[in-house]
Every structure is written in C-alpha cells, then in structure tokens.
C-alpha cells in the first residue's frame, strides 16, 4: 500500500474515534498529483504541477445523513482537526434535516485494493522527448501525467484503494495555416512513455496531413454512406451516456432510450454494449461503498437489457445497487466489435465519408434519440475506396435507431480503447472501448 493510502486510512481510523452513539461514518477520498503541459505549435503555452486531495465525510445517524467535502493539506494533525471540526458541524446540522427515505450504503464490508507501479519518468524529460518528436509540425495538445488516487473507508471496517500512474498525451497536428480547422488527431495514453511510439503515430499522421492539404470536397446536406472511426464512435457513445442507462432516468422517463427500453424500437443485432467494472482504468467502488460487478450488459443484440443502479436508486426503486455513481453515468463502456476487417473498410465504404472524429454532440429530439453534431479532425471524402479529399466541416442530425439500427452495415473487427483526456476537477479515468461503424446512410444537415 502506498504512503498516501496509509495516510488516508490512518486519518479515517482517527476520525472514527470521534464517532458517537449509533453514528456511521463514510469517507471518500480522491486526489491527483499531476503535471500538465499545454502545447501550441510544438511549444509550451502553460506548464505546471498540481497536487490536490479531497475527502467527503458522510455522517449517518439512523435514517438521517449529511455530507461535506474538504480539501486536505496531508498534514495529519491539521487534516484531523479539520475533519473532526467538520464532523461537529455536521452533527449540529443533522437534526434540522428530515429522515432520508432513500438512504442506502453498503453495510457488508467489501474491501479492495488496486495499486499500480509508478513507471512514469520525470515530466520535464518526457516533455523534451515530445517536443523533439513533434518538431517541424504545428503540434497542439495537452500532456498530463502523474498519479490519480481514489479511496473509500467506513466505520464498519470497509477499505478500498485505487492508485494509478498514467499519462495522456492528447494531440493534434494541423495541416496548414491557410486551413485552421484541418488536422489529424491522435492520443497516446499509457503508464510508460516511449518516444518511438509517438514518432510512429506522428509519421502516420503526416500521411493524413498530405491529404488535408488538397482542395476540400464540399457536399450538400443529404444522406451519405459513412464510416465512423472509433474516436467518432466514442463521441457518439459519450453523448449516449448522458441519462441513457441509469435506473432513475428510466423510471422517471428521462432516458433518450425510452423507445428502446419499451421495445418499440431496436438497434441492429450487432450492437452489444457493456459497462465494465474490472480490468479498467476506473476504481471498482462507489462513494457508498458498493463494488462494481465485472460487467453489466446494457444492450445485447440490439435490445435493451439492464441499468446502472446507484445506491439511492436501488433504495428508491427496490433493485440491487451495482456500484454506479450518483449520476448513473458509465465509466468504462465497451461496445463489442464486429467482423469488418480493418483492411476492407475503405473498399466497403466505396463512396462516401470517412469520419475520423465527431464533435459537440447533443440530442436534438430525445424521444427519437436523434443526435446532432459536427464532423471534425481527419474527415475525408472517399471515392472508389480511396481517401481523395478533406471534407468541409458538416453537421449531422440523425437518430441512433437509424444510425446503429437499420443503417448499420457492419462494425469493425477491432475495438480501440479510448482514454478520456478531460480533466474537469481532476484527470478523468473514464474509458470507452469501441470499434468503428460502417453506415449505409448518415444524415448531413448543414
């Protein structure tokens, strides 16, 4: 166990000593030690180091609960004083609150530990290698590297810890100052940086850049054959994650998959989607102490299966909790691959659009699960099975029931693991594993 894990559990044990009567205490820990370097034109825009650690203390007394999140200094006496002081404040406030009929937490201790080895090098040295590899290119992006910590403990004796050491270099290379929106995007995420791997990615990007310098193909709004590469599918699955799979969203009828769940609509039999709870980058426990199962089938052979169930939803709708977060948003989605060989993608597409990425997706009609968004990086017009020209940026607006239903021709045979590069609050541990999708028709509108 790491020094920080020891610190957190010692802090937890000392906090339990301040517990009174029948009180139950929960402590959720999260933190990061990150170096961030922002790059533009293969130069540094901002570089820095961030250390943040937070605990959320939940006080439960019979059917009442209240919680508070505190920033930690990681000096034990100071943090313990802040935490026990906050416990007193919560204890004062608790009687003002009514009983919570949806109170639920894991009462059967289930301890877990996932401790990765730190194989990351020093960030400034890695930065030098990145700049060297990217030299001569209009290289833009973010290098984020370091440790991410998650922990849980309760006064019933449960202890969970998850500590990972990863970097994520999320980058794009732009073609030409004349075309400010034409670029090839790539991502390199791992636990150990290898300059040769980045160099190989950049060499492949250079071939796409040559194509992006050609005159753009402009198409009219209408229906086109299209191949959505895995990052584009990742965007589609990301927007679908909003309220689509949570039990609460289904029971309160907010899910955009209402017609799929009711059986009125279906997706193609090739569509099978799971939320993975083990072997992923994310911790396998939630803030109430429930442990995520290895896999939850959300959609199987195009039919809706089961839900993500948070602790509160479990209580509200009388179903077992399955470790979902409070928002019931997936952390580790996996779409099963299909049979389309990578080497056959362009031939099978024949004439249409190869879409490297999609961007800024949102629902335009939730009842029909209609989604709109833009084409972005690495999107090309294809003729006779060859990439022939960059496509001028286009908007699509189409129903998921058409895209991954009647219009799905095939899924590619390889699923790509996409690590989320966002760092709102802290660096994300969300992943999506997805193949690409060949569509017989894809609706462009603007």
């Amino acid at each position: 166990m790491s020094a920080l894990a020891d610190y957190f559990f010692e802090l937890a044990d000392k906090t339990w000593a301040a517990r009174g009567g029948d009180e139950v205490l929960l402590l959720r820990f999260c933190g990061e030690t990150s170096d961030f370097v922002r790059l533009n034109n293969a130069l540094v825009r901002q570089a820095g180091h961030v250390e943040q650690r937070y605990v959320t203390l939940t006080l439960i007394d019979k059917m009442r609960q209240i919680s508070s999140q505190l920033a930690l200094s990681t000096t034990l006496s100071e943090d313990l004083s802040a935490l026990t002081g906050e416990l007193l404040r919560l204890r004062d406030l608790l009687p003002q609150l009514p009983e919570d009929p949806l109170l639920n937490y894991n009462r059967t201790p289930s301890s877990t530990e996932e401790q990765a080895e730190d194989r990351l090098g020093e960030a400034p040295a890695t930065l030098s290698q990145i700049i060297e590899a990217a030299a001569g290119r209009d290289f833009v992006g973010i290098f984020a590297s370091g440790a991410i910590y998650n922990g849980f403990a309760n006064s019933l004796g449960q202890r969970n810890w998850h500590e990972s050491y990863t970097f994520n270099l999320d980058w794009s290379v732009f073609a030409d100052a004349r075309f400010p929106d034409r670029a090839i995007k790539g991502s390199y995420a791992s636990d150990h940086f290898d300059q040769q791997k980045l160099a190989a990615q950049l060499a492949q990007a250079d071939r796409g850049i040559e194509l992006l310098r050609r005159d753009a193909k402009t198409v009219s709004p209408g229906s086109y054959r299209a191949y959505l590469a895995p990052p584009a599918m990742g965007e589609l699955l990301t927007v679908l994650s909003w309220e689509s799979f949570g039990l609460k969203a289904h029971r309160t009828k907010r899910t955009p998959l209402l017609r799929l769940a009711s059986g009125e609509c279906s997706l193609a039999p090739a569509i099978s989607l799971r939320e993975l709870g083990s072997g992923t980058m994310a911790p396998n426990f939630d803030a109430s102490g429930f442990v995520r199962p290895a896999s939850i089938s959300l959609i199987a052979q195009g039919r809706y299966q089961s839900h993500l169930v948070s602790a509160r939803s479990a209580q509200e709708f009388a179903e077992p909790a399955n470790g979902a977060n409070a928002e019931e948003v997936p952390l580790s989605l996996a779409l099963s691959p299909g049979s389309l060989a990578e080497s056959a993608i362009l031939d099978r597409l024949e004439r249409g659009i190869y879409i490297g990425n999609l961007w800024y997706l949102n629902f335009s009609d939730r009842a029909s699960c209609r989604i709109t968004g833009m084409t972005r990086f690495g999107t090309f017009w294809v003729e006779d099975g060859e990439l022939v020209a960059p496509l001028a940026t286009m908007r699509f607006d189409d129903s998921l029931y058409r895209m991954l239903g009647e219009n799905l021709v095939a899924l590619s045979e390889t699923a790509e693991l996409l690590a989320d590069s966002e760092s709102y609050g802290m660096r994300s541990l969300r992943t999506i594993e997805t193949p690409g999708a060949l569509l017989g028709a894809f609706e462009l509108t603007l």
């Binding site: 406030l93 930065l127 029909s368």
Partner: protein, 476 residues
C-alpha cells in the same frame, strides 16, 4: 488577507523575474428537494493556492492545498522548476508581459441576509410541492446552490488583491411523461444564476414560478411538433444567453484565435485582422463585456492576473471592435482585449474566459416585436446546444416554443430547434427589445481548457428578433 500576504512575503524568491500567489477559498452548500423529499445536504470547504513563477522567458505554476510555509515553499520550488524547464520553449516570452500591481480589497457580492439552511429547505419544499400540478408530472425537483468565495492575488511587483463573492445557482425541473413521450421544463433552462444575497434570491421567485413550470411541462406534452421551414425567430433572454455564449463569446476569445484551444475546444472563424473592420451583425447589435452589471454571475473587479475589469464594447452597431483575451493574449496578438484571464479555482491556471457578455437593449417592446412578425416562432430556455469547432455552424434547441402568426402569439409547440451560421446569423437581427424585456442570466458550466475547467459566466439580453431562420421540430 494578512495570512497569505505574510506567507508570500516570507517566500525566498531569489532571482526569479516574477512570482505570484493566487489563493482561492470557498464554502458551498447544495440543497435539493426532489418529489417533496429533502435530498441529503451536501457541503464543501475548499482552499488552496497556485504559485506562478517566471524565470527568463519561461513560466511555470504549482498548485497545492498545503498552505503551511513549507507547503507554499515546495510549491514555489516546483513552479520555479517548470519555469526553468520551459525557458526558450514557450509560445510567448513571459518577460514581455507587464503584470499590473493592483491593490484593493473589495466585496463584489455579499450574500447578505441569506436565510438559514432550515429556512431554505422549507422554501425549496414549498417550491417542490407547487410543481406537480398533474399526475403526468413523473419527476420534479427544486435545487439551490450557494457558494461564498474569496480570491486573493499577491505579486512580487507589489500587487495585493482580495475579492469576495456570493454565487446563487437555483433551478426547478418538471418532467412530464405520457407513453414514450417526455417533456422537461425548467427554470430558464438552468440559467437563473446570479450573484447576491437574500434580495436577489427573493427576486427569482422560485415558489411563485413553480406552478407555471409544471403547467408548461404538461402543455408541451400535449403540443404539436414545432413546424419545419424558414420563419422569423424571436429569442427570449434565457435562450439568447446560450446564443451569445456560443456564437459571440467563444469566437471572440483571443486564445482560440491564437490556436491554444485547437486540440480541444476549437478555433474561431474570427481572424485577427477582423478587429476594427468586420461586420459581425446588423446595426442593431451592441455587445458589451460588462463586469459591473449588478447581480450578473461573472461580476468582478479584477481578473486572476490583476488586470482591472472595465466595461468595453466588443461589437458596436454591428461592427467588431475587440476580442475577449487577457494580458498574455493581448501581448501575443498585439490586439485589444479585456480583463478576462480567469481560473475556476486554485488548482487550474488562468486562461481567457468569457465573463459577462451582454446585448444592450434598444427601444422595441415585446408586443411590438411580436406584432411585426407575420410568421415566426418564439423560443425560450435552452435544452440542446451544438456548434462547430470554428464556432460557426450551430444548432440549438429550446424547451419552449410558441408560434407567432400574423402578429399574434398562438400555438405552443414542442421540440423547437433552429440552425444557422454565426458569421451571418447576427446580420439577420431585425429587432431588439427594450429595457423591460432585458433579463440577466448566467451559467456555472462553461467548459474549456487543457487541463479542463468549468467556469461561471453571465449573459444579459433583451428579447431579439431574427429574420428568416431555418427552424424545425422533432420527428413525428
């Protein structure tokens, strides 16, 4: 203020060219009543500091919640190490940025008179009870976030600033359902966010507005789809907030124009040479950066680099005058900007951010704007937003639509959407409402940056009428 000033003065800065300490502390409470049941009260206490160091042309930062002398010293050393490591590698020579040395201690908003937690929960319970006016309302909720924040900035050239804020984030949500059709109505699409205290909270009128939100959710459930075709579009302030944000605010950010955001949030169709000459909209379009409009969500006196925040025209009579960029972007681009280098907290660095970006009112009443419209749709409260990475081709959807036929408001329609292109959309502005139609809106959720940050923004506007817009509804 004295503790950080003192801690900063005790740091041995050595031969660095510049150093700043920016400290942010906050206390927050999130209150919620769902289906008339009080949800668990969530509190938060946060504090931390970011040290920024310039050595030669390099610059580095380090953020920590360890605010002891040794913790700050360690952060200073880490920031210095990054500054050393990025010498001669930066997009800008940081020695050329002339940081101000402002000194002030100001209360931007105080939270005066905010009721006790018990009283607030009672108010939310009353609000919740008033929403569910029909059994087809299957879920409903009243929420309120209250955040007290203190921001301090100390610089090695003598700057010492403290600003205090109180942010209020209210919302009401009604979900109506029948068979496989669901409609959601909310309090201004979640944009009724303001700074202030009891007086401002009272003015929102959560309890009195709740029944209307419930009724409108049911009306939408029974309404026909918004028709498809080209019509005039009357946007109300709570949708204009989003329209201004996405198609004026973001495209005018200088860091986008400089390419910093190209890998994530995107670039801009606005080029540097357009400032001073480009026709952004019709002559009716006056857009200001206004950090002083009382109660607006992103009011402040100084940005996070110590630059004094002043009201400025971004667009005047349709002509583009200046962009949204702080000191560093202004130095890099050689173009005028505004005081807008902001961070969401102590753990992320300041970047160019939208703040209060407003449309100035003119002289048309709402009745006059409706009366002059032969065939149009009035839309309120954003629920869907999407725009390309150059901030040009957009498509937005609203919770509420109502047809305008021969100068009269008529049928309520559901799923109203419209699409257009920023570069031409604002030129189709044909009517701007008066002060009585002017409303102050805000959002806590503007996302941008690498590392990512969400930040508070404010947008105030009168009702605005646009000619001949591509409008459509949901699938039949």
């Amino acid at each position: 203020m004295e503790s950080f000033r003192s801690a900063f003065s005790q740091l041995a800065l050595g031969d660095v060219d510049f150093c700043s300490l920016r400290a942010v502390s906050s206390t927050e409470q999130q209150l919620s009543v769902r289906q008339n049941n009080v949800e668990p009260l969530k509190l938060a206490v946060d504090h931390g500091a970011m040290l920024t160091v310039i050595v030669g042309s390099g610059c580095g930062y380090a953020a920590t919640a360890d605010l002891s002398p040794s913790g700050l010293k360690q952060a200073f050393q880490r920031a210095r190490a990054w500054a050393e490591a990025t010498r001669d590698l930066c997009v800008v020579d940081h020695r050329l940025v002339d940081y101000p040395a402002a000194t002030a201690n100001c209360e931007i908003s105080s939270g005066t008179g905010i009721p006790s937690t018990a009283e607030l929960l009672e108010m939310l319970r009353e609000t919740s009870s008033a929403i569910a006016i029909d059994p087809r309302i299957v879920d409903w909720q009243a929420t309120l976030g209250i955040c007290h924040e203190r921001r301090e900035l100390y610089t090695s050239n003598g700057g010492a600033l403290e600003q205090r804020f109180c942010y209020l984030t209210p919302n009401i949500i009604a979900v109506a359902n029948h068979d496989n059709e669901t409609q959601i109505r909310s309090l201004n699409g979640g944009t009724a966010c303001i700074q202030g205290g009891a007086k401002q909270l009272e003015a929102i009128g959560m309890i009195s507005r709740a029944p209307e939100i419930g009724r409108q959710a049911i009306e939408l459930l029974l309404a026909p789809q918004c028709p498809t075709g080209r019509r005039d579009l009357l946007l109300m302030p709570d949708q204009l907030a989003l329209q201004i944000h996405e198609s004026i605010g973001h495209p005018l950010e200088l860091d986008r124009i400089l390419g910093d955001e190209r890998n994530y949030a995107g670039t801009s169709f606005v080029r540097p040479e357009m400032f001073g000459s480009y026709r952004y909209g019709s002559e009716l379009l006056d857009v200001t950066f206004d950090p002083k409009l009382e109660g607006e969500f992103a009011c402040y006196a100084y940005d996070d680099e110590g630059l004094t925040a002043k009201r400025s025209y971004l667009i005047r009579a349709g002509q583009l005058e200046r962009g949204i960029g702080g000191l560093i972007s202004q130095a890099r681009l050689g173009a005028p900007g505004v005081a807008c280098a902001r961070s969401n907290g102590w753990a992320r660095p300041a970047i160019d951010r939208i703040a209060n970006i407003n449309i100035e009112p003119k002289d048309a009443s709402l009745d006059q704007l409706i009366a002059r419209t032969e065939q149009g749709v009035l839309m309120r409260s954003n629920c869907s937003w999407s725009i390309d990475d150059s901030r040009n081709k957009f498509q937005f959807g609203c919770e509420w639509g109502q047809l305008i036929e021969n100068g009269q408001l008529t049928t309520v329609v559901k799923n109203p959407n419209y699409r257009g292109i920023s570069a031409t959309f604002w030129r189709s502005l044909i009517g701007v409402g008066d002060q009585r139609t002017f409303e102050v809106m805000g959002s806590p959720y503007c996302g941008k940056g690498e590392p990512s940050q969400v930040i508070r923004v404010g947008h105030a506007a009168p009702a605005c009428l646009f000619a001949d817009v591509d409008i459509f509804g949901g699938d039949q």
